[in-house]
């Protein structure tokens, strides 16, 4: 992937485009183009590029939307795809244009099909002869239809080809080069999706409710549709507001634990202890939330949140101290502490009594009754649902304040426009505009979202992570230790002190996840209960790796994981052999492939530093980088198990 700025795209770029287009062209021929409708058990009516319709639903007479203009458009997209393929083969200058055209044509087909399906849905809604139940069923039937892999692949391949084709222009090359950090996670996700697809193909039998046995070809189409169905269900929650809020709710604890693992990564430590730290944080939050004097009022909530942070920090500090003082590996110690924390958790809420030296005592922290849970939190210690906080409350309907959105938009726009002190000015602008628009609401229809205030605490932690790590002297010392302990020690930075500090802060982040479960009522009640999913702590590892240990990356990865967790529940309901655990496998595969560098060549993932590359090109007038913080964040992750000498180079930048 060496950039050669000639008039033609590089061989590598052309090869990438060629492969993408070949796969997409095959996909268009071999896979269903679109789903015209889908029943509850994922039984579908499939449309192929040839215009053949395969009905796998129980109702063989169900009226189908007209596909009139969609098929010719799809054929046109196919033609453009072939043209791109030939262009990529010849390394022609123009193939990015046909690539873009493929994308546009495929997208237009999707839009057209979507319109036809919507028309069908509204026709059903207007039909007065249908029973309410049948109406809902038919509406869902058409609403679950849409594009299938035969349209998804050419759109994707068109984008890839256009991007690859454009790299012969320096401007585009540099844009793509700056996004290089995304390569490994993207490739890892792609590979995990591929393996997951194979698992689905192997595990789940074709869904066929039509009563007629499937031919070989029909069976293949039905099977391949299943793969698309599973993934479209997993990633669907981003497309509607209600499930999106649900996935943000599930993402909240992942942000905490992801930040925790990422913080440790940055300082060269591997924190496998997030589950234990989360548990201790939740226990501490519960203790304060239930037993602190109610006279504190709002201070009770604050104290409870601080207790969660302190509980996690303490649990993180132990392995930190052990590593700094005795040199015992933090990996094994954090794992052991997970088990200890889990034992304490079970001890506290597991049973009503416990024996001690031959006598039996009653357990004071467990609520009365057979359920393993603590007492209810005092109302002052509860974090309200975010919707309630953001609700302007006009005339009894739900109306969301647009203040938050306006503030966010103002922040992004101002930050892009202003040159100096941009973060401060942007923050001020966001605050002012947000405050001004706080009372303006937009009515929305949301069914009881449980997204709670812990989400805001998580965002505050993201800001804290970024500020602490890249804007303070302490953060500099922490990163220096992560990049090369020896060099840091030589430079007068105490490795022991920073190891303890790093583990304490990492533990604090994980402990704050307890606020989501206990104060935020994410366990369906405002109390500590046994169904707390401590595995979220391990997901933090995947989140941190996928987010490249940057704050923004952690948020993005958490939202992605929250999305597929939400979607996994739906897939679980509809298919009998595929369940939620496929999501766990996907996450594990993502970690596996990221560990392998996405199986990408090292030439791609670790090219020579920008400064060296610029020095090798005498004709360039080395343009000032757009964002120095960006570059800073792009520094390679510290090596975890060894202090390799080559890292000192970057450490000294």
């Amino acid at each position: 992937m060496t950039p050669d700025f000639h008039s033609r795209p590089s061989g590598d770029a052309a090869r990438i485009a060629l492969i993408a287009c070949a796969v997409a062209a095959l996909g268009m021929l071999l896979l269903p183009l679109a789903t015209l409708g889908r029943g509850f058990s994922a039984d579908a009516v499939l449309l192929h590029l040839t215009g053949n319709v395969l009905n796998l639903t129980a109702n063989q007479q169900v009226p189908l939307p007209p596909t009139g203009a969609a098929l010719p458009l799809a054929w046109a997209a196919f033609a453009a795809l072939i043209a791109t393929l030939i262009g990529a083969w010849q390394r022609a200058r123009w193939f990015w244009i046909t690539g873009l055209l493929t994308f546009v044509l495929a997208t237009a087909t999707v839009v057209l099909l979507g319109a036809a399906l919507n028309e069908e849905t509204s026709r059903i809604a207007a039909d007065t002869t249908l029973r309410a139940g049948a109406k809902r069923q038919l509406r869902n039937f058409y609403a679950s239809g849409g594009m299938n892999m035969g349209l998804f692949l050419p759109a994707l391949a068109g984008l890839i080809a256009a991007g690859a084709g454009l790299t012969f222009q320096r401007r585009w090359w540099e844009t793509f080069n700056r996004m290089r950090g995304l390569l490994v996670p993207a490739s890892a996700i792609g590979l995990a999706v591929l393996v997951g697809a194979l698992v689905v193909l192997l595990v789940q039998p074709a869904v066929n409710q039509s009563g007629t046995p499937l031919s070989l070809w029909g069976g293949w189409l039905a099977k391949s549709d299943l793969v698309y169905f599973v993934y479209s269900t997993l990633f669907a929650p981003v497309t509607a507001l209600s499930p999106l809020l649900d996935s943000l709710k599930i993402a909240t604890p992942l942000i905490f634990t992801g930040l925790s693992v990422a913080f440790a990564f940055r300082t060269g430590l591997f924190n496998v202890g997030a589950p234990g730290q989360l548990t201790m944080g939740a226990i501490a939050a519960m203790l304060v939330g239930v037993y602190a004097p109610p006279s504190l009022g709002w201070g009770l909530l604050l104290l409870s949140v601080l207790a969660a942070a302190a509980g996690g920090a303490l649990w993180g500090a132990i392995p930190g101290v052990l590593k700094a003082r005795f040199g015992s590996s933090e990996v094994i110690n954090t794992i052991m502490l997970n088990y200890v924390a889990s034992a304490i958790f079970i001890f506290m809420i597991g049973s009503d009594t416990f024996p001690f030296l031959g006598r039996t005592y009653t357990q004071p922290f467990k609520a009365e009754g057979s359920n393993p849970q603590s007492e209810l939190l005092q109302p002052e210690a509860q974090l309200r649902p975010l919707l309630e906080v953001l609700n302007v409350g006009q005339n009894g309907t739900v109306a969301l304040s647009i203040g938050l959105l306006v503030a966010l938009a103002a922040f992004v726009i101002t930050r892009a426009l202003v040159r100096r002190n941009r973060t401060l000015i942007a923050l001020a602008a966001a605050l002012v505009l947000g405050a001004l628009t706080w009372r303006i609401g937009i009515p929305v229809s949301i069914t009881g979202s449980q997204l709670n205030g812990a989400f805001l605490i998580a965002l505050a932690c993201v800001v804290l992570f970024g500020t602490l790590m890249w804007r303070t002297a302490a953060g500099y010392a922490l990163r220096a230790v992560g990049l090369s302990p020896k060099a840091a020690e030589y430079g007068g930075i105490s490795v022991a002190r920073n190891t303890i500090l790093a583990m304490t802060i990492a533990g604090m982040f994980a402990g704050l996840a307890g606020t989501h479960y206990v104060n935020g009522g994410a366990l369906d009640e405002y109390r500590l209960k046994q169904n707390m999913p401590v595995n979220v702590g391990f997901d933090g590892i995947a989140v941190a790796l996928m987010g490249q240990s940057t704050p923004a990356g952690v948020v993005a990865a958490s939202v992605l994981f929250g999305t597929i967790d939400t979607g996994g529940v739906i897939a679980d309901q509809k298919l009998d052999k595929v369940n939620n655990d496929i999501v766990t496998v996907l996450k594990a595969l993502i970690v596996l492939f990221i560990a392998a560098g996405g199986f990408l060549s090292r030439r791609v993932t670790d090219p020579p530093p920008a400064a060296l590359a610029a020095a090798a090109r005498p004709e360039t007038t080395a343009p000032p980088s757009p964002s120095e913080a960006h570059l800073e964040r792009g520094t390679p992750l510290p090596n975890l198990t060894r202090a390799s000498e080559e890292n000192t180079r970057e450490g000294g930048q």
Binding site: L202, V203, Q204, F270, V272, L322, F326, G327, S328, S329, V331, I332, N333, I335, M336, L337, Y339, V340, S342, A343, I344, I346, F347, G350, S351, F354, P355, F356, L357, G358, R359, T360, N535, F538, I541, A542, L545, D576, K577, V578, N579, D581, I582, V583, T584, V585, K587, A588, L589, V591, L592, I594, A595, A596, G597, F599, N639, L640, T641, R642
Partner: protein
């Protein structure tokens, strides 16, 4: 108090002790090979789970056709699958020079998801396999009756000691973990040594899993390893990466686990807290050993 001690030190307790010791011993011996070759193997816990699953499922599937021979084939399958999964760890950490701790963690994560997917596909339930009709046979006298992997484990200690210190393979393996560059210059194929050691660790951990699923119980249940892999890893460090040290350390941890099983039923301490004892002792044990005697090249990919 005396009553309790008399109650504990019985043949039944000895049997429990040996049953808690064996999975730790097998896994730690596996870890010994891997770590002596310079590859950190955090994945041991996951390897146990994969071995246990493969053992139980294969035995269950083959039972109608093979009858009493099925568990033996199941054992073989557990070893093979353990070795195969360990091979993935080996490829990542040797060929792709991945961070060995992360690669191992990925395999542990896989072990939390794959069994559930597989069991759902095969049996429609996600957390346990159906009971096998023929588990591994029990050999021995009176209350001290154990399945073959128990005897295999003690044999493995002797064999490991012999291989490690009395064969060219052991010498090369140790050299690979200490100074891969020097070993390579003497004509040792460092990568092949590491591959073989890591796969061997998977085979031994897979056997530990087979013991848990069809040697001790008669089915695979979710979370069957209960962290044995990590305790075995700690025992490996505590035993200073030496076969006899590993035997001593796993005996200590096995004793603690057996004690916590026994104390859990008594009225001396809260059972939940007693179950945490082995982990606490592990932390204490690690304080006193540290990483002082670790193979020098442990955790570093070989760049040759």
């Amino acid at each position: 108090m005396e009553g309790l001690i008399a109650q504990i030190f019985t043949t039944a307790f000895l049997a429990t002790f040996i049953r808690s010791l064996v999975p730790l011993l097998l896994t730690a011996l596996g870890g010994l090979f891997s770590e002596r070759s310079g590859v950190v193997n955090i994945a041991l816990d996951g390897l146990i789970i994969f071995g246990a699953l493969a053992g139980a499922v294969v035995t269950q599937v083959l039972n109608p056709s093979l009858g009493a021979a099925a568990p033996w084939v199941g054992w073989l399958a557990g070893m093979l699958v353990g070795g195969l999964i360990a091979w993935i760890h080996a490829v990542l950490s040797i060929k792709y020079r991945a961070d060995q701790v992360i690669s191992g963690t990925a395999i542990n994560l896989l072990a939390t998801g794959v069994p559930a997917v597989l069991l759902t596909a095969l049996y429609g339930v996600s957390n346990e396999s159906p009971k096998v009709e023929n588990a591994l046979p029990l050999w021995g006298v009176g209350e001290l009756r154990f399945s073959p992997p128990v005897y295999f484990a003690f044999l493995a200690v002797a064999v490991t000691w012999y291989v490690m210190y009395r064969t060219p393979y052991g010498l090369r393996l140790r050299a690979t973990g200490e100074q891969p560059g020097a070993a390579a210059s003497m004509g040792v194929n460092v990568r092949r040594m590491r591959y073989s050691a890591v796969i061997l660790s998977g085979v031994l951990a897979g056997t530990a899993g087979v013991f848990l699923s069809i040697g001790n119980l008669d089915s695979y249940v979710r979370n069957i390893s209960a962290g044995s892999g990590f305790i075995a890893l700690a025992a490996l460090i505590f035993g200073q990466w030496r076969p006899l040290g590993v035997l001593g350390a796993t005996a200590l941890f096995g004793l603690l686990q057996a004690l916590s099983t026994y104390l859990g039923g008594s009225d001396l301490l809260p059972p939940a807290l007693v179950s945490a004892l082995p982990y606490l002792i592990t932390i204490l044990a690690l304080i006193f050993t540290g990483r002082s005697r670790a193979p020098k090249a442990l955790g570093t990919p070989y760049e040759g």
